[in-house]
Structure formats: structure tokens, C-alpha cells
Symmetry: C2
Subunit: 418 residues, 2 copies
């Protein structure tokens, strides 16, 4: 795969569409991979050529030509961590937290996530699908073209499969690429109170094989934390998951240092997510094993966390940093990547370029999709967004506005116009 526009690249034969007069932040290399006065060709679902305007051959009549009028094009956002499927509302819990209750307090009191579990169990598949579809439709307007979606509000076989069936229907019906993750080990369900090991066995012996049979998830996630599952319980889930051929990833070191990250990295996890309390040792294990750090500033912000993830350590060890919405009704009701970019800069100290790389190429890395998604390069999927901004940094700087002009996914215009 070539990484930069190059007039030496021959213009391909089978071009279906040409986007002309583009300014591109390809995110394929340093300085945002900026290319100005450029054109981009699409063949079928793929980017087939990127080059300077003056290398563009005279366009025959069969090609669709879109004049981008010098607007900025960036890769579509890859949101690599969401809990997008749920029923019920948690606005009341937001008011509780304003009054001083902590996430752990609420979890221990049987509130919080369990109110979502109850509502999600009670909702039929059609209702869940309608709710989630609306969220996907909004995500499209926000320039999000790939979406990871976790189960984990069922915590029983039927509801977990129902959630993953909804994710599968979203993949069939929404324009975005959907990556489904099984998160049975999200919290201990009330039926297994004080019997966490039994629930882990249920996951290993019943849920994981059933999810595998249905072929409706590609990855397995877990929440390794004092209020959730231990390192040893996580290890057991991951061993079985890996044995069945799933990718693994982990909610790790969000509220305390449980050393889940080192374990996950050693087991070949795609990513470890949250990481506010990560130790340097944990980070070193990530670097050693090529694990992506997924930063979730929405949850940090909503939970009024004060300890930030060790961004300087990630930089020093060259650990790729992804950023994601963590969309969920409890700790991150964040329905767009734009505020996430802003919070990644202002709260975590990322540069604008690092934040944008986190929402594109490193989001794709966190999902194991970097061969197809996350940057503008010939051979990759034609997933991109045309933005009405003066510079890519505007996408990190602005609040309360999403200046999307047009969203293209696998070569099809799915939202807006130039």
C-alpha cells in the first residue's frame, strides 16, 4: 500500500468517482498527512488513487466528479469503544452524581448499570434495534463511519445474544461498518451475587460457545476492576475466548490499578481501554506486545475523575493512542467524536494531531482494521468526511457544532453534500 500521493502512481483504469480540489489530512503519516490541491479517486468501495490535481488525467464522462471546492477531507472517524445498544435512561443518575454519589457508590447500591441491565433485558429486540438505529443515524451525521459495539447490558445468555443480534442487524441496515464485541464480563449480574467465579464459568462454558456458534461477535472484552472482575477471572475468560478464535480487549485501570493491562497485553489484546491508573510497568507490557491504548475522556469527564492516563508514557514508549466516545448511558452519554477530540486535548493534553489520529488510524488499529480503515491511502476503504473547517485543528477546537458537509462510506455518499 502506498502511503502518499505521488504523481508517479499511474492513474488507475477502473475509476468510478473522482473527488477534485481537495485539501486532505490523510492521517497516513506526520503533520496530519496533509496534502493540498489534491484529488482522490474511488474504484468500487476503495480509494484507488490520491495525487496532485495536475496529475489528474482529463476525466472521461463515465466518472462521477465531485468538486470539493478546497474543503478538508479526513478519514471517517473510527469509534473503537461504544456500548451503543441499551434501553432506559440514566439522566436521573446524572442528577444523583451531581449530588455527590460516586460511580462505585452507585454500582454497589445496585443502581447504575443494573438499571440499564433491567431495561435492556425487558426490551424486545425490535425496540432495542430502533433505539440503537437512531444512535447510529446520529453517529453518521457526526462523521463516524466505523463503530465498535459491545454487549454487556444483558449479563444473561438470552439478552447478550439479543444485543449481539441487534448489532448484527445494525451491520446489515446501517451504512457504517460495525464491529461487535461480546462483553459478558461487564458486571456481576444480580443472579450471581457473591458468586463471581460461577458467573465466569457461565461465560466460559455457556455464553462464549453460544456467541461463537452464532458468529455475531469478533472480539471479547471484560471489565477488570475492583467493582467488576479480578485479573484471574479476566485471564480465564480471555483464555477461552482466544481458544475460540476471538480477539480480546480489556476495560483496565479505570478506577484503580488492578494490573489487568499487563495480563491483557501478554495475552495479545488488541487494546486496553480507559487506563487512568495504569502503571509504567503496565505501559511497558503494552509497548512490548503492540497493544493500543484507548483513551475515553468522556467517562473521565462525566465521572469527575482527576487522575489522567499517562499520556507522556504512551508517547515515550510509542504506544498508539486511540480515542473513542465510550457512548453509554451511565458514564459517557457522549454521542459524537467532536467533544471527545476536544476533551482529549484539553483534559488529557493530546495535541490536535494526536487526537485526530486517535479517532482515525489508531481507532482502526485498536480494532485490528488498520489495513482497511482509518487513513486515506490507496487500497483502503473509501470512508471519508468532507468538513467545513479552516484547518483539521478546528475539529478539536470547536464545541457545540459539527461542521460535517458530506460523509462517504465505501464509496457511497451516505450523508450530506459538498
Amino acid at each position: 500500500m502506498t502511503t502518499l500521493p505521488d504523481s508517479c502512481n499511474p492513474f488507475p483504469e477502473n475509476v468510478d468517482q473522482v473527488f477534485t480540489h481537495c485539501r486532505m489530512a490523510t492521517m497516513a503519516k506526520g503533520n496530519y498527512g496533509i496534502v493540498e490541491n489534491a484529488a482522490l479517486a474511488v474504484s468500487g468501495k476503495k480509494i484507488s488513487w490520491i495525487g496532485p490535481m495536475d496529475a489528474l488525467p482529463e476525466t472521461p464522462g463515465t466518472k462521477k466528479v465531485t468538486d470539493c471546492r478546497n474543503q478538508w477531507i479526513l478519514p471517517g472517524f473510527v469509534d473503537c469503544h461504544t456500548h451503543l445498544i441499551w434501553a432506559g435512561s440514566r439522566a436521573n443518575e446524572f442528577e444523583m452524581r451531581l449530588a455527590g454519589a460516586s460511580y462505585a457508590d452507585i454500582a454497589k447500591a445496585g443502581g447504575g448499570i443494573f438499571s440499564t441491565v433491567t431495561a435492556t433485558r425487558a426490551a424486545d429486540e425490535g425496540t432495542l434495534f430502533d433505539l440503537a438505529s437512531r444512535r447510529m443515524a446520529h453517529f453518521l451525521t457526526q462523521g463516524i463511519t466505523t463503530v465498535e459495539i459491545k454487549s454487556g447490558y444483558g449479563l444473561d445468555l438470552d439478552t447478550e445474544l439479543k444485543m449481539l443480534a441487534v448489532a448484527d442487524r445494525l451491520q446489515q441496515t446501517c451504512p457504517q461498518n460495525v464491529q461487535a464485541t461480546f462483553l459478558g464480563a461487564h458486571a456481576l449480574p444480580p443472579e450471581f451475587s457473591d458468586r463471581a467465579d460461577d458467573y465466569i464459568q457461565e461465560i466460559i462454558k455457556v455464553m462464549l460457545p453460544a456467541v461463537k456458534d452464532q458468529g455475531i461477535a469478533t472480539a471479547v472484552d471484560a471489565f477488570c476492576e475492583t467493582i467488576a472482575f479480578s485479573r484471574e477471572q479476566t485471564r480465564q475468560v480471555f483464555e477461552k475466548a482466544i481458544d475460540l478464535g476471538f480477539d480480546v480487549k480489556l476495560h483496565a485501570e479505570q478506577l484503580s490499578d488492578s494490573s489487568g493491562t499487563a495480563l491483557a497485553a501478554e495475552m495479545g489484546a488488541l487494546s486496553c481501554d480507559h487506563l487512568e491508573y495504569l502503571s509504567t510497568n503496565g505501559a511497558e507490557k503494552m509497548a512490548e506486545h503492540g497493544t493500543v491504548a484507548v483513551l475515553l475522556p468522556g467517562a473521565f469527564y462525566y465521572l469527575k475523575e482527576t487522575k489522567v492516563p499517562p499520556v507522556d508514557v504512551f508517547r515515550r514508549l510509542r504506544i498508539p493512542m486511540a480515542v473513542a466516545t465510550d457512548l453509554n448511558p451511565g458514564s459517557s452519554p457522549v454521542h459524537s467524536m467532536i467533544p471527545v477530540l476536544n476533551m482529549a486535548c484539553l483534559l488529557f493534553g493530546l495535541t490536535c494531531e494526536q487526537a485526530l489520529a486517535g479517532a482515525t488510524i489508531h481507532g482502526a488499529n485498536a480494532l485490528g482494521l488498520a489495513d482497511r480503515k482509518g487513513s486515506l491511502e490507496p487500497g483502503k476503504d473509501a470512508d471519508f468526511v468532507i468538513w467545513d473547517v479552516a484547518s483539521p485543528a478546528d475539529l478539536c477546537y470547536l464545541t457545540g457544532i459539527t461542521p460535517v458537509k458530506m460523509v462517504v462510506i465505501e464509496g457511497r455518499t451516505e450523508h450530506g453534500s459538498v
Copy 2:
């Protein structure tokens, strides 16, 4: 003016429109002023009746009837503090601040606001109008129906008048109500370097009379701060402004305690704005003189301020708290009230109800418009928004989505549909 739906209110004769099956947060009294299963009648530009559905007379054919399908209606947002008219971009300064430069550092270095002053002076009125119109159009989609707009990026007579002329054109062409404020004392222009008293004389002798002559502003604002103008300079500007019949208001105690608030309150200011460093003595003066506290969490957030305004003191002294976007290209590029509501709750500790009252009735109070704007009550302007939310608190809880369905201003549907 009655404050609550009351089936004893006779249904008026001259009704043009009826909105049926409403859930309303009227913001007219406690608990959001919630009224369920209600209807609202509009006569011309005014709300003429609010009452229970079963008190609604059978509707004759001449009235327009809109079935709100049990969706929530709130007063349109009153954004009582913006700097909406400017040219140029400050995204680069955002990147500078990420690297550690402070607002004061940037101001002292001649950067920051002066880059906006330079760009705004250079822009012709048509260009400024186009830029500002787009911001107003976006504000409309965010449910903002009244907008205060300050000058203050000219700092010379011609540019200050040009900005106020743009505000006047916005009032003529945009559906929102516009309140223009003269803010010549925003910063010391480079032409008056080390001659702040001379610039104050220029404001008093030249600018204020010219603004008065043209009748294009109703209020006068100033920035009382170590990096701007002293308490004594502020007093001189306010004395002249009051003498000419302007309302006054103040940017006060944002970066330090300069005791501008006590002065402004004693001089009858409508509001004092920012207030992070306000002393209890200053707050007591506000309470004594009925001054509104305008909280601007966007600037607090963008400037990484750590000292929060004394919200508990405002509560104890029953000082009305407004919240506003402070939309400006430097310290608060915040283009919607939704993130402001969220930050007011999470960063400043307001309840959801206080935040919503701040964006509606107390925003109107801060502009001296509470007789016409800011709550749903018979006799007030028919400015309201229909929201696709489960509860009013959702508007504070959500990030990255603005669930507006329809915006009505003075009885006219200006955006969306039910």
C-alpha cells in the same frame, strides 16, 4: 401575568395557534414549572393561554393546531453573553494553549484577542455579516431564540460601529431577538499602548456618544481585570453610559479579584459575568442591588481554570444565576447551549434545574427582558422549543447531540417540525 396553567383562565378569543398534548417545563416556578398533559395557545406573537388539555375548547377550523405528541416544550434559550461577531480563526492559539501558554501570557504577547481585532478591523461589513449570520443560523438549530451580542473586537470607532451595524442587520434578518451591547472597553488597543486613560477618554467622549446617536446598542459592557481596565476606568465608562441611558454590565473577577462586581452592582448593572474570583463582599453587593450572576463555564473549561464561581454563595444570597455560551473565538468557541448546561452542572455544580433556569428565565433577567422572554407564561413572547427528550434533565446530561425538534419564535415556526 399568571404563572401557571389554570383551568379558571378563560380561553381567549383571538387565538391563532394551539399546541396540544404538551409536556412543558415552563421555568415559571419551582420543579422546572412542569405541567403535563397541557396545551398552549398563541395569539399573534404572544402566549395567550396555558392550560390542561381537558380545559381546551373544541378548536374551530381557523386555528392552526399542532399536536406535540407528549414531547417536552421549554422556553427558547436566552444566550445573554456572546461575542458572536468576529473574523479570523484562533484554532492555532488553541494549540498554543495546549502547549502551556496562559490567556494572560497570550494577551501580553500581543496575540490572542489582538489577532481577532486585526482580522475584524480588516473585514468589511458584508463579510462580518455573513460570518455572523451563519453562527446565528446554527444557534437557531440549537434552540437559542434570544442572543446578546457584544462589540469589542474593533477598539476603534469605525470598527465598533461596524460591528454594531452587523448586530443591527442580524436583528433585521435573523428570526432571533438580538440585544446589542457596546464593549469598547474590552481590551486596550495597540494605538493606545500604555495610555489606557486616554483610551477611556476616547470611549467616553467619542465612542459612547456615537453609539448613542446611532441607536444600535442598548447596553454597555467593560472588562475590569488586571490585563484590561481598572475599577476606576470602569467607573468612568459606566457613569457616562448611564448618563446616556444605557444599561450596564461587567466582565468581572474572571482571572483575579479586582472588585469590579461591587462597583457594577452599586451602579445598577444588569449583570456581572464570569465571577470565578468573586469575594463574598462582592456577592453581597450583587444581592443588595439585584444584579444577575452570569456564569460562563465554556471559558472556565477552555482556559483550564480551576477556581469555580461561588455557586453556594449565590444560592445562599438568592442571586439569580444565568448561564451563557460566551461564544468567542479565543476562550469559548462554544456554539451551543447544550454543552454549557452540561458544564454548568458538572464543572460548577449547578443542578439541572438551575442550569436550565440559567439558560432561560435568568438569561432573560440578565438582559432585562424577563417581562417578555425566558419562561412559558401567558403574556410573554411565544418563544419555545420542542425537544425529543425523556425529561428536561436530558438537556444537561447529554453530550454531542442536540435533540431539537422544532423552534418557535414570536409564534412563528423558524426551524424543524414536530
